[in-house]
Symmetry: D2
Subunit: 434 residues, 4 copies
């Protein structure tokens, strides 16, 4: 297939890609709760030649990390029912078995490709002001407490676009194609469970990517990425004793103060001289009322490091500081690890491949050898598994200007990135799988 | 009426007092949301000769402080509807016009007595374990998030007992009797609104009191109390900018960190050399998720001081520290005063009165001249108003052992205190109003 | 002796009292280093009929608390030598055996009086500006690092004035008179060692007092005082590991950060609902240089409580927080108790005595029944011992306006308080010992 | 000159290099106080054909940053006098004009080489235990409060070795040779003042280097280095109001608490997503005594960033936090910038040069293309100036195992690095200057 042809297909896909992205944006669901999202993806692909896997076929049950509380799961499940997702479909998914794998086998000799697109949203209330395009153009999230503020709506749309291309041109292709719509990437919770299910075990070529991250133009892509940060996600609780804050403050054991002090102590963990570190306490809920010494506090936190070892340093420091705060405030603590991610590296060969296949593309006009991520991505588990088994992998960056940074309540991107991403993947497939 | 008679009446009231207290305990409602509670009190007194006032007759609308959020008000209002409180009754109360005043005029010359009983509960989840008597004896709070952990269920029951005595023996009494069932004492939010409505303006004798506080035996009462702490209740918010905690932590403006730091700064306000101070941040809700720099934080806090001036010192320090934290974390802050209480002093004459009228009582067998409160009580506004208008006032302490301190989730008291309190009030009425 | 006579003697003593005070002010020396001060007192009394005790006769060696470092002791000792204090005199005192006891026995039947005057200064650099009277009138401290900022120069002068009166009028008096010039009151370090030496064991009447504290006029005295705070003085060290702050910050164990965090943790110890508490970290020396992770930190701190039990609460909280900080920063800590003080109460009989003996005084024209101290005073050990042995004791307050509060670098008082204090003591002696 | 010859010369220099290093180690002096050190260097070179510059000839007076306090300067100056440094020599240097430049002009056509060796020590008390080689072999620092804990004694010795080589073989060489013995590298205070004096303005080849940093073997060198961190050094003071910590704590304005809080706030400055940052408060001196609210605090601190821009972010955050802390504690602050360093990059050509000239060397047996520094080095100012003027520059790393990390009190290195470093510089000179 010629580059003129892939240019043409990419152009034709532009409108559907934007439609898919916007419809997905409106049904934003947080990790392990992507019930409507999974059904939406299923509906788009059910009439293709892909074989679709959902529920326990997608993830290894015990390897899932950071499942939501029952009440949150119920909220999303009920919402999906009300939105018309069939009971039979939900029965397979309920309890956090979201995500989908789509498989296409040409039955012809050729490489086994796998592609991964993450599909979950974030617990952020989306901006409603008119400067925010999803608001002004009417595709803002319907679920007040969840928002696609990291571009996974775009990722999922790219996955749909790629699937439609593969379906349409399957007779011109060789090898096998596995498209993974992964749940619960935020918090590094989902990829490991997909890996443990075995989906990456016999893959020859594994490709994934992210839109945005750096402030690049649409049409620019990075062929490899570095600095995926290793990470550990933890939930921390402090439990003390309540008392009347005026009458007997000294009889209380103040879990709220412990959480505040712990947050600052964690934030002050010494930087590491040999690489990047991150620490974030992203949520605190503590205490019952203003005149009561708070007897309970809950914190969501995470550490990161530029290597798995540096992240381990952060975790060790964090745990000691949590224990010390509990001692200082004479309260009890629990620390649960609810997510974990490792570091990973793209294979260098993709620099040449991407440059070569993009020649003549109207969608990809500039290729950077590499770009840094500087964040965590549980795709690292997939890359590691593919490489361990002898396959080759890369994680691309698809350039797009951003209205606001990732995880901002007015995050948005230029939808021109969607056909550009599909175009790159198509051209690689044409090169390697024809 | 003889002391033998009041002893007998008190004994007869013991069973109803316990029944009222336990039924009130089960329908615990937080301040300005006492819809079921007010209806319960109304039901107990509607067939007496008391004239009952509810809704806007009880409180001055604008003087109410610290009203709950709409959604909380809705929750309690709907719950009251479901529990069978008539719509017509609720119509008068809705929007936080809870509480009731019961008035009895003998039309005979005599003093105007006023009594105040506070009726609100706290936002505490009650202990369910079997060592907690309300749990083991089946009268634990039905509303998971509210609990009578300060004894106001007992106070309201005492008020009902007193009312029934007055109703039954009204022909033997002189003067006027006003019983105030005050909403929203917790947080020092309700008394001022009752005062502003004028209920205390022509009162000759004002009596109120609290059960517990100190570890005294049932039968011991303190005739006067000191050290009611002046207090200010504040809601604080911090607003910053969210960002991806791994990718662009430096682009965030971290409101969650500001709240944690502010809490510790507030807690560290220097003690005052001339009297007691208190500071409590009793609630923090901050941030959205672990990998997002938190852009919003909410705190409920309070200051106290043994004099109004010392409390003013605390407020001044607190506000400066809130502003400084906002500067440090480059976030915006708002500080709203949602409750305020002053200091007040019992009139000394009550020491002799209480001692004298308790002679021969089987219920009050030990009278302390005074006891310290060491907490805030918005009854101080009522005492101040009565004294300003030339009346005399005291705030009693009714002894009872406590299973756990006030505001503890397993707070409980010896119900023997209920007839003791009613007995004291009866004996004073017999002395002064016969 | 008539009140006219004591008025006259007091007037005559005014000039010498001011002279003594100013000369003592100039040679301010910190606790256990009062070498010049002791010699100065000795010189003033050596030609009287008092028997003078110095060195190990004054204090029980092992009961002395909080001795200074060798180098500080050397500094003051050498300075005393240079200032002309004879070697023979210093030989008895060196190693921190400062202070003096002056004893006068009339050999006539009568009560055994003991009076205590504290003589030490504080490690404060005195204000040099012209608004500060000691500076403008030329009697500012010669020792840059020590200053009489608590009025002990005045106390010692009052003691000298009293001694001169007793010496001159001894033939008119009965009983025995012991005047204790106590070292090291600041930090509650010296009184216990005097008590342990036995000086208070057979005392009938013990009187001491303090100038200032409250903003009272000269001529006003409080006959009894309350609220002497129990206290514990501690030295804390943290020891970690230094490292290059740019290159290997993560290899350091940061003792400086531990000290900073510990200071805030200590400052935030929850207030006690039943009485006053205090906490102060008054000195921190930590770290070596800006680009080195600090491996050592030293802190001087103290706790106080309105009762010995409440102070014990503070000490317990403090020690747990020090241990927790060491855990948090992975450093070692040591905590040494270097001073301790208890609570004490004046005997009530002194209210009447002071009122009575002050009638007709030109120097004491207003007597308050009581005043609060709100600080610590190791005189409490002396009061306790005297009372235990059957004697009677009071601690007076001598009114004087203050230019600035106690321990301020521009602290100063109205010297009119000096003859007023001597006058009161004289009149009591005349009443009880004639 | 052949590599055999430079091998031989290097071997002959080994003993003198060790002797120089150990003698310099014993007279460790902190920045701008290197009086004995400068004289020592002068003595070693005064009989060579180098022209020696000292005093104001070396540094631009106003460009010197972070001069020590007068009393510290006096201490080192007097010590130098007592150690026998001639008055005439010291007269030129006093007031912080330390360091020396040695110049040799062959008068033959050829490049102008400049070499820089830093000569200052750190304010660290050296380890005295027998595991510390300088202690066990008797060359521990004589000045208790200063120590060569960063290897500048080795640097200066290498400079002397290089100078002796140049002097001996000057007839075989072409061009000009400037050897800069730079004062006050620690704290990034000295290099800029040398640059401002013009010493780097017409240099063709500029070479400097550091021993240690990474754990490399003797004989390994890195031909270029990256990641010299930009840095800003600041002194911060807080001034409040003292008061009696028991009596009137609320009247104090606590500068000591401000310093503690500020230290933690600074330590918690959010990490930057785009590069390395560092923050260190390395010294705190605050307060006067335990029972006094501290009215003064002094802090030495520094920020660093992997780029000048990232360091600027740290400085901006730091200054805002210092101001906010002053507001929070109601105290005054001053912030003085006392040192500053920029980033710089080695020229890439040196990778090939070093590899080539080291062939056949018995001292340099492994060449790394590059190594990271990860710390600040004010040599960056020199590199920048040379490159701006068209010259070429590199900063080498000379491998040596370290007993303990840089700035540790038991820092030590393998002296085998000394002839290796001289050997490399010799071979480059032979290559470029023959």
């Amino acid at each position: 297939m010629s580059v003129e042809k892939t240019n043409q297909v990419s152009a034709e896909l532009t409108h559907p890609l934007i439609k898919w992205r916007r419809e997905l944006h409106q049904i934003a669901e947080i990790g392990w709760c992507e019930y409507q999202t999974t059904y939406y993806l299923y509906e788009q692909l059910k009439d293709t030649s892909f074989k679709l896997y959902t529920g326990e076929d997608v993830v290894a049950k015990e390897a899932r990390m950071g499942l939501p509380k029952q009440e949150v799961d119920d909220l999303y499940l009920n919402r999906a029912k009300k939105a018309g997702v069939p009971e039979a479909f939900l029965t397979k998914l309920k309890g956090g078995f979201t995500g989908m794998v789509a498989e296409l086998d040409t039955k012809r000799e050729g490489p086994h490709f796998a592609f991964r697109f993450d599909i979950d949203a974030l617990p952020i209330k989306e901006e409603k002001g008119k400067e925010h395009k999803p608001a002004s153009e009417g595709f803002v999230s319907k679920h007040g407490e969840a928002m696609h503020a990291c571009g996974h709506d775009g990722h999922a749309a790219i996955g749909l676009g790629l699937a439609h291309f593969l379906d349409e041109y399957k007779d011109h292709l060789n090898g096998r194609y596995t498209i993974i719509f992964q749940p619960a990437e935020e918090g590094s919770r989902g990829a490991k469970a997909v890996v443990e299910k075995g989906w990456l075990d016999d893959v020859d070529i594994f490709l994934s990517g992210h839109i945005g991250i750096h402030d690049l133009s649409v049409g620019t892509v990075a062929a490899t990425t570095t600095d995926i940060l290793a990470t550990t996600k933890m939930d921390v609780t402090f439990d003390g004793v309540s008392s009347h804050a005026g009458l007997k403050p000294h009889e209380g054991k103040n879990a709220l103060l412990a959480a505040a002090a712990c947050t600052l102590e964690l934030n002050g963990i010494t930087r590491h001289g040999e690489g990047a570190t991150r620490i974030n306490v992203g949520k605190i809920v503590a205490g019952a009322g203003r005149n009561i010494v708070g007897d309970h506090a809950f914190m969501e936190m995470e550490t990161r490091g530029s290597t798995t070892e540096i992240n381990r340093y952060m975790v060790k420091e964090a745990i000691r500081k949590i224990e010390a705060t509990a001692l200082s405030y004479d309260v009890k603590q629990t620390t649960d690890i609810v997510g974990e991610g490792i570091s990973a590296h793209s294979d260098q060969e993709w620099i040449e491949v991407v440059k070569q296949v993009s020649q003549g593309s109207r969608f990809v006009n500039k290729v950077l050898d590499e770009a840094t991520i500087g964040a965590s991505e549980d795709v690292a588990y997939m890359i590691e598994r593919v490489q361990q088994k002898g396959g080759s992998a890369s994680f691309f960056l698809y350039g797009t200007p951003l209205a606001n940074g990732h995880h901002h309540k007015a995050f948005d991107f230029d939808e021109g990135v969607l056909p550009a991403a599909v175009n790159l993947l198509m051209n690689i497939i044409v090169e390697k799988g024809c």
